[in-house]
Symmetry: none
Subunit: 237 residues, 2 copies
DNA sequence: ATGCAATATTACATTTTGATGACAAATGTT
DNA sequence: AACATTTGTCATCAAAATGTAATATTGCAT
């Protein structure tokens, strides 16, 4: 749900942490770091990252321990873990490290490979959340098929209008300022003219109002609240 | 799917890996190898072999661990596993059956026996699910004969387009991002240009649209969802 | 009604995105 | 080996989407 997934990098070498951090940054992820298993554990409990990159060669072999602990604990068990392993020393210690991590990347690795694997794992783990269709009268939004239907006929709209409507339908009956809408629909770190929201509201309304055959105007669901923002509501103003 | 099934051999002894590899080769299988549970797991995630030959006695007892995990994870649960066990101990079999392993072969074994068992397991596992034809209007996909028919005439397409169509027809009415499609059709962690998916979509559409005599354009079933991916759907956009 | 501020609408330049043909490398076939 | 097929990438074109500024309209207090 969060625009940018947050990834925790756990490695005792600062150089590697930095390198990975940069790679993730350019790939559009947020990241935080930890250099010890203890730090990592605290961070995971506090921040609940979307994924953990875990060096298994942490001093004291605690990387593997941490992985095991995380997977055992109900609270953290479904946070995906990707292990960073050194290819060289796999003989003796590697055994029994089969603790339920989601993927492995062997050092040295290319940033591209790392990012690709992170995306794959995230896709696997978050893709399972089944989005249920939301329906208001004869206006239906189905996230699975990525479709908006009015009276069972598809409604054409651009991606931004889709996200906008999705936000409204999942947050009905409340006013939101233009700022807030920007945060939710465009992402927190994007700056736009305030009026841009108006334009997209307009586009969404147009799409909705030209969709009904029965004369119901679904664009009326998106209400302007003068001086405050907009509201999606089934009740009249 | 693939003409020759791909089989992963997991054993820590190189001699055994080679021996089995040769046996499978002459029997017409493709094979790859791994010497540790870790390697094996990576390989399975990436390559999705059609079957795994797994040595029970991997150092550290991680063979059985790996099997358990593979069967627990939804993504890998239906990849058949044949365990290679050194002893004819009843304990092992009982424990392994628990895990959901598909068959056992006890060392020493003859190549002929091994191949026979592999074929049996493959027959069982592929015969169950995949063989039922899927039909949408006059577009029919028959996995058994590995053929696509439109109005009872065969449609020509490359293997990739076949897999692509197969994925779509088994996952209708949902959007999939290009990344997701790559995972499903090419295998996870294969790095391709995003646009490559577009090209194959194009090829598939072309194959489908030039197939109908009755004027129905089956390529319309594959819908572009701007900013999101593609969707196979019988409903209009 | 009037003026003003807030919102709606329009038009447009720019950027993104997707479709498609061409091509070369890889692969399979004869 | 010669040939055909399949594959992935790229360049190019067309279409769609986007953000902004200019202009029009609306709602509201007076």
């Amino acid at each position: 749900m969060t625009p940018e997934p947050n990834i925790l990098i756990v490695d005792d070498e600062a150089a590697i942490r930095d390198m990975i951090g940069i790679a993730l940054d350019t790939a559009g992820f947020r990241s935080s770091t930890a250099s010890t298993a203890l730090d990592a554990h605290v961070n995971i409990i506090d921040q609940r990252p979307d994924l953990v990159l875990l060096d298994w060669m942490l001093p004291g072999g605690s990387g593997i321990e941490l992985a095991r602990r995380l997977k055992r604990d109900e609270l953290t068990a479904n946070i995906p873990i990707i292990m960073l392993t050194a290819k060289t020393s796999e003989d003796n210690k590697v055994q029994g490290l089969d603790v339920g991590v989601d993927d492995y990347v062997t050092k040295p690795f290319s940033p591209r490979e790392l990012v690709a694997r992170i995306k794959a794992v995230l896709r696997r783990s978050t893709g399972n959340l089944k989005d249920k269709p939301i329906r208001v009268f004869d206006l239906e939004m189905d996230p699975a098929s990525h479709r908006v239907m009015v009276e069972d006929r598809a409604v054409e709209m651009g991606p931004t209008e889709y996200r906008l409507l999705n936000f409204f339908m999942t947050h009905p009956e409340k006013v939101y300022s233009r700022d807030h809408i920007q945060d939710q629909v465009w992402g927190a770190n994007v700056y736009l003219e305030e009026r841009t929201v108006d334009v997209h509201i307009g586009r969404l309304r147009k799409a909705l109002s030209s969709a009904s055959k029965t004369g119901i105007n679904y664009s009326a669901l998106i209400q302007t609240v003068r001086g405050a923002g907009y509201r999606f509501s089934t009740r009249h103003d």
